[in-house]
């Protein structure tokens, strides 16, 4: 940010083949998915192959970044670049969730009340436009997900994980590696337990509440919002595990550990998204 630190020792990487490997991976994966969703069996294998190549690419690319970081190639300037970019990346994620929250609010404030309005009575005479609803053409009834069972426990788990992660960060800053490793491990455990509860909640919804992805606009927004959040928790947990393994190997110092901080920012972001989910999807 400040223009006083020079850029002349800014690290510029050599030519690299990682990006094009990633491009091939995405072509195989997304092209394969398009075929797969249209019933072409070949698509599955293309998707899996693309996923494998993508995981391989991330392993070698991030491995190289870790090697460069531990090799002392990343100056203060590079560190600031990482900070800006992680912040903007999280902003892009905020906007992605905003689209889905926008869909939820639009359905609850506009489309569902509109479908129950007087001028729709000719078309849907029986429809009661109260939320939650599966829409005027709902085939079978479902029970909405309550807020004060598993979701409340999950809220507690995620909020606690934010605290344990902060304690781990203090361990890092105090050069207390035992404290760092212990509390980071606890954070990961809380993330995994959260995901376990989420999986249980989905199976409970499908088997006992008859709440499905196809349960109209309620099922749609419920599964897509919680599902994308769950995906982000999964990614966050994987990132925390990578950082934890690096901590156990003795990586990072008290003043050079942006990988840890970046993941922590991401984790807190996922945490905040959950609070909005808890309030608007589960509670009200």
């Amino acid at each position: 940010m400040s223009s006083t630190t020079p850029t002349h020792n800014y690290y510029l990487p050599e030519p690299s083949h990682y990006p094009v490997v990633g491009s091939v991976a995405l072509l195989l994966m997304l092209g394969g998915m398009a075929l797969w969703f249209n019933g072409l069996a070949f698509g599955q294998w293309s998707t899996l192959a693309g996923l494998a190549v993508l995981i391989y690419m991330m392993k070698i690319w991030f491995g190289k970044v870790i090697e460069e970081s531990e090799g002392g190639l990343y100056t203060k300037r590079v560190d600031v670049s990482f900070r800006w970019s992680m912040g903007w990346f999280i902003f892009s994620e905020v906007m992605f969730f905003a689209a889905f929250f926008g869909a939820l609010f639009y359905a609850r404030l506009y489309s569902v009340p509109e479908l129950g309005a007087v001028d729709q009575k000719l078309l849907w005479p029986e429809f009661n436009s109260a939320w939650p609803t599966a829409g005027p053409n709902a085939m079978d009834a479902f029970t909405p997900m309550g807020a004060w069972g598993v979701p409340a426990i999950n809220t507690l788990l995620l909020l606690t994980s934010g605290v344990t992660l902060t304690v781990a960060h203090f361990g890092m800053l105090e050069n207390n590696r035992g404290k760092l490793n212990l509390w980071l491990g606890l954070t990961i455990a809380l993330g995994v337990i959260f995901l376990g509860f989420q999986a249980y909640e989905y199976s409970h919804a499908y088997s006992e509440l008859n709440l499905k992805l196809t349960s109209g606009i309620y099922g749609t927004t419920f599964y897509l919002l919680t599902g994308f959040h769950g995906f982000h928790v999964t990614v966050g947990t994987i990132m925390l595990i990578v950082v934890w393994v690096r901590c156990l190997k003795g990586h990072f110092t008290a003043d050079h550990h942006f990988a840890f901080e970046g993941v922590a920012w991401y984790w807190h972001f996922v945490d905040v998204v959950w609070l909005f989910l808890f309030i608007f999807v589960y509670w009200f």
Binding site: M1, S3, P6, T7, H8, Y10, L12, P13, E14, P15, S16, H17, Y18, P19, V20, G22, S23, L26, L27, L30, G31, A34, F37, N38, V80, S81, W84, S85, W88, F89, S92, E93, M95, F96, A98, A99, F100, G102, A103, Y106, A107, Y110, S111, V112, E114, L115, A134, G135, P136, N137, A138, L213, T214, G216, I217, Y218, G219, T220, Y223, L224
Partner: protein
């Protein structure tokens, strides 16, 4: 001047690490982490896509040359309008300006490269897979999706596998844009040379800072919209399905929340290029630099709160129509500030009219005209009449072609001597300009009249009363398309046999790449940053 260039521009000792061990031939381009290489690839890719999208446009104009169905089936005509739009917006114009950004931003702020060179490479190399998916959808069972570039529900729910390929292409393009934009924002905020404060940055850099912010804010929203389309198509969700409690209009809201800022994502870098070219050929600094920065920022912020003016006819409370109408008209104020400043820059300047300046002036006249028709369309009662007519088509082609594309041409002619070390043929450049601007107006000016007379867009056939104007428009379109082959010839001729360009080819150019670097530039520049006073 040469003393300045020697002390900062020529690179010392360790800058040549690309020479040993770096791949040669094709692999040099595949693996490159150099912002100049990546910028060049963006520009060439966008030109290829410009020709692909152009062929689709000519297919449309050939079919519309006379009433009745002659050349293509209606379904295929729909795919032409769809992919012409998608390819020109996402494949041609956006990558062209990202190419300018990659090439020029590090030079203009005195940085050694972009902040993340490897990610920069990936941003570019995501484009070919996306292009393969987009064009590949023509070979899917049932053909490509004839839904319009806006991909409105519920039509998208009824298309074949080509729709899914297009959806995934949009996902990849979004990833590319987001990574590219994060790179640009980080570079501008963190890589400026000592003394280069924000308010000393060249206007082009400012416009890209604002554009990149718009991209990061809106591309994820588009990704969300097409993801909802995908799950509605294949997994039984009800986002856009009224029977399940959703609403097709929801798609339009989400799409245009992306789509309206997208208009400025295309226009604002074009403003940036013009803001460099007009001062250079007026031999005066840009008039009202600070007000330009504030006007551009205002346009960007306003662009987020006017999206439903694309949807006046879908059904909206009168209060909503009034709000969107007045908010939209408000954008004319900062845009007017910009046009005023460009004109004031030329006032009492020492003007000369080389090709870049001609294209910049073409931009100034015709973009302003497109802005005025935009103001006409912002009025709800007028728009209800003109919605989905050729008046709208004429309006946005004045903004996109005579605005963005002409600005990109101005930029290429302006910086080509610096990039390649060789001058283009000035006479042929002027021919390119005059052919382009005449044929452009022949093609699109008459479309205003077609729209006012009620001819709907995206329809392969029309009533015989529209014939004359359609004939004129089609002749203009083929003339315009062929004129662009002249552009290709001019660039290739400059590369092969152009005269050697000077370090500072244009008298009035005052940005770092002209004042601090030799022509042609070394592979790595500003490894030792210059200091700006």
């Amino acid at each position: 001047m040469s003393a300045v260039i020697d002390s900062h521009g020529t690179s010392h000792g360790h800058d040549d690490h690309h020479d040993h061990g770096a791949p040669a031939g094709l692999m040099r381009w595949v693996t490159t982490t150099n912002h100049k290489d990546i910028g060049s690839m963006y520009l060439w890719f966008s030109f290829v896509m410009f020709l692909v999208g152009g062929v689709m446009a000519l297919t449309i104009r050939a079919e519309l040359f006379q009433p009745g169905l002659q050349i293509v089936r209606p379904e295929f005509f729909n795919t032409m309008t769809t992919y012409h739009g998608l390819i020109m917006v996402f494949g041609a114009i956006m990558p062209a300006f990202v190419g300018f950004a990659n090439y020029l931003i590090p030079l203009m702020i005195g940085a050694p490269d972009m902040a993340f060179p490897r990610m920069n490479n990936w941003s570019f190399w995501l484009l070919p897979p996306a292009a393969i998916l987009l064009i590949g959808s023509f070979f899917a069972p049932g053909g490509a999706a004839g839904v319009g570039w806006t991909m409105y529900a519920p039509l998208t729910s009824q298309m074949g596998p080509g729709m899914d390929l297009t959806i995934f292409a949009v996902h990849i393009l979004g990833m590319s844009s987001i990574m590219g934009s994060i790179n640009i924002v980080t570079t501008i905020l963190n890589m400026r040379c000592p003394g280069m404060t924000l308010m000393k940055m060249p206007m082009f850099v400012w416009t890209w800072l604002i554009t990149a912010y718009l991209l990061i804010a809106t591309m994820p929203v588009l990704a969300g919209a097409v993801t909802m389309t995908l799950t509605d198509r294949h997994f039984g969700t009800s986002f856009f399905n009224a029977a399940g409690g959703g609403d097709p209009v929801l798609y339009q809201h989400i799409f245009w929340f992306f789509g309206h800022p997208e208009v400025y994502i295309i226009a604002i870098p074009a403003f940036g290029v013009v803001s460099q070219v007009i001062p250079a050929f007026s031999r005066k600094p840009l008039f009202g630099y600070a007000s330009m920065v504030y006007a551009t920022s205002s346009i960007a912020i306003l662009s987020f709160i006017v999206w439903a003016h694309h949807m006046y006819t879908v059904g909206m409370p009168v209060a909503g129509q009034l709000y969107y109408m007045y908010a939209t008209m408000l954008i004319a104020v900062p845009t007017g500030v910009k046009v005023f400043n460009w004109v004031a820059t030329m006032w009492k300047g020492s003007l000369s009219f080389e090709t870049p300046m001609l294209f910049a002036l073409g931009f100034l006249f015709l973009f302003t005209l497109g802005g005025f028709t935009g103001l006409v369309l912002s009025m709800t009662p007028v728009d209800v009449q003109l919605h989905d007519t050729y008046y709208v088509v004429a309006h946005f082609h004045y903004v996109m072609v005579a605005g963005a594309l002409f600005s990109a041409f101005a930029g290429v002619y302006y910086w080509l001597p610096k990039w390649t070390g060789r001058m283009y043929d000035e006479t042929l450049g002027k021919w390119h300009f005059w052919l382009s601007i005449i044929f452009f107006n022949v093609t699109f000016f008459v479309q205003h009249f077609l729209g006012l007379a009620g001819m709907p867009r995206r329809i392969p056939d029309y009533h015989t009363q529209f014939t004359e104007f359609n004939v004129i428009s089609s002749i203009g379109a083929f003339g315009f398309g062929l004129s662009q082959l002249l552009f290709l010839y001019i660039v290739l001729k400059a590369l092969r046999s152009g005269e050697k360009a000077a370090d500072k080819q244009w008298d009035g150019a005052d940005t770092l790449e002209w004042t601090h670097l030799p022509t042609p530039m070394p592979y790595h520049t500003f490894e030792n940053p210059p200091t700006i006073k």
